[in-house]
Symmetry: C2
Subunit: 295 residues, 2 copies
């Protein structure tokens, strides 16, 4: 699979110009189900989204390729490096390190005045431990639920797991509050920044894995947060780079050493990019997301 975002810039008068734009190739981890499909690596999606932002405004050409990290061809070509890997053939550069990849994207964003890397310590603080805490909750609850056909409910969870559960909910609530105060489409304002490229994929994983493995959902009363999730589902950079539900579930099951059933491996890949009806009503009632408010 190779998504090719090459476009040629068009002048005001409609003629095609020959501005040399850098071509950035991003190698992302393939799904364990099918190497032609996108896998659920969070860093891969994060950089893909950032690159998409550069592509959208015509700063760079971007090509994305999925790679099977277990294949001999991949190992030999990249000698131990792991995706995400970015290549810029023109500069004979291979960026195999997240620091280098971000450094290059940062440089391009700066050069073209793209506000992708604006800093906001209070946003940073609110989002930084969410995913770690979710993983602690996930591991503890999956262990506890071992052998059960249906995940335990919140009331059935022992105190040591409830601690993790409460922490995740508290943090989601903090982000919901922040979004309510800011009342903006993205975390920092009207345009997407690296914080969104970090948070959106993580929230989506929390949602998909919560539902499929934990009997957990992002609480429905977090209207601002759900509105933000809906924004993700309407952001091209997110949609394009988002793995299918099955590939996300498969990724976590592999890590958790859980049995992968045929539901995931044989199903046609689907993407849950809708939000619960009740939440949608709340969003409308609060007058958020004007585009869903049209009757």
């Amino acid at each position: 699979m190779a998504d090719d975002y090459q476009v040629q810039p068009i002048n005001g008068n409609g003629t095609v110009t020959e501005t040399p734009k850098p071509l950035l190739e991003l190698y992302v981890k393939a799904s364990g189900i099918d190497a032609r499909r996108i896998g659920a690596d969070l860093f891969c999606q994060e950089f893909w989204m950032e690159l998409y932002a550069l592509y959208e405004i015509g700063v760079a050409r971007v090509e994305v390729k999925t790679v099977n990290v277990n294949s001999e061809a991949f190992k030999k070509n990249f000698l131990g490096a792991q995706p995400p890997i970015m290549i810029e053939e023109e500069k004979e550069a291979t960026y195999t390190d997240n620091r280098e990849i971000e450094g290059r994207i940062f440089h391009l964003a700066k050069e073209y005045n793209v506000p992708l890397f604006e800093k906001d310590p209070s946003v940073e603080k609110r989002i930084e431990n969410l995913y770690r805490n979710f993983k602690l909750f996930l591991r503890a609850k999956v262990d506890f639920d071992k052998g059960k056909k249906i995940p335990s409910t919140i009331d059935e969870m022992p105190a040591n797991i409830k601690v993790h559960y409460n922490r995740v909910c508290e943090q989601l609530s903090n982000i919901d509050q922040l979004l309510g105060e800011r009342n903006s489409r993205y975390l920092l304002g009207d345009s997407m920044t690296e914080y969104d490229c970090e948070l959106m994929p993580r929230l989506h994983h929390i949602r998909i894995i919560g539902q499929s493995l934990l009997g957990f959902d992002i609480p429905h009363n977090f209207t601002f947060l759900w509105n933000y999730v809906m924004t993700a589902y309407r952001t091209a950079a997110f949609i394009e780079s988002c793995p299918a539900d099955q590939d996300i579930i498969h990724h976590y099951k592999e890590q958790l050493n859980l049995f992968t059933n045929q539901r995931e491996t044989l199903q046609s890949p689907t993407k849950t990019h809708t939000i619960p009806d009740r939440v949608l009503t709340d969003i409308r009632n609060k007058g958020l997301a004007p585009d869903v408010n049209v009757h």
Copy 2:
């Protein structure tokens, strides 16, 4: 294996103070030969060296643990994250991303005025593509030598491999020149910086893999460069974090899909931390490295 660098600060009067120093745990990739031994991951060694620098001057406590990335226990604990992984239990923080790890080390270095991250664009430019070019040379030559008992000599290499060979030598020569001009122990001066943490392990890999798989050595006339390699072999941060020759060779053979013989897997691990006699004489004659100049 767990190297524990915990030390308690001692006052001028010899009493132990109770300054709370952050405890940083670094999880590094284990060797494919023996999970208790350090593997040859370059990013792991780079961060280990940086952490060692902080430990040495008493800024942080550091514990290093090797992890077998293929074990179910590791997968489940870290859910897809790959080493290097840094944990700071006190802050409930897990840094799974090179950007985050470096960010934390950077912050600590800044707080305590450790000049670990001084910038020097000309140094950056000279070292940046060396390892990539070495890997291109390695891959091409190993392919060409397939089935041969002894690696081909420089004269026997076809032009398309010689191109890579020349590029590596040219770059090594540029670094040799830079070191000659600066005439300093490390790249930027008397103390180690992140550039050294990046270059030293890579030069060592080039040396070990060059000798064992390519019939190649860092040219002996690059006296300043060899003197720098010798500095690495006398720098505690490098020595402590350095994998054994066998583990380095095994790492590359795995990636290149080459047969690993019992020489590597059964031998007691050894570390080549000496430099060729002829080079040592040249270093002495040039009056470099005063500590080897004593008779």
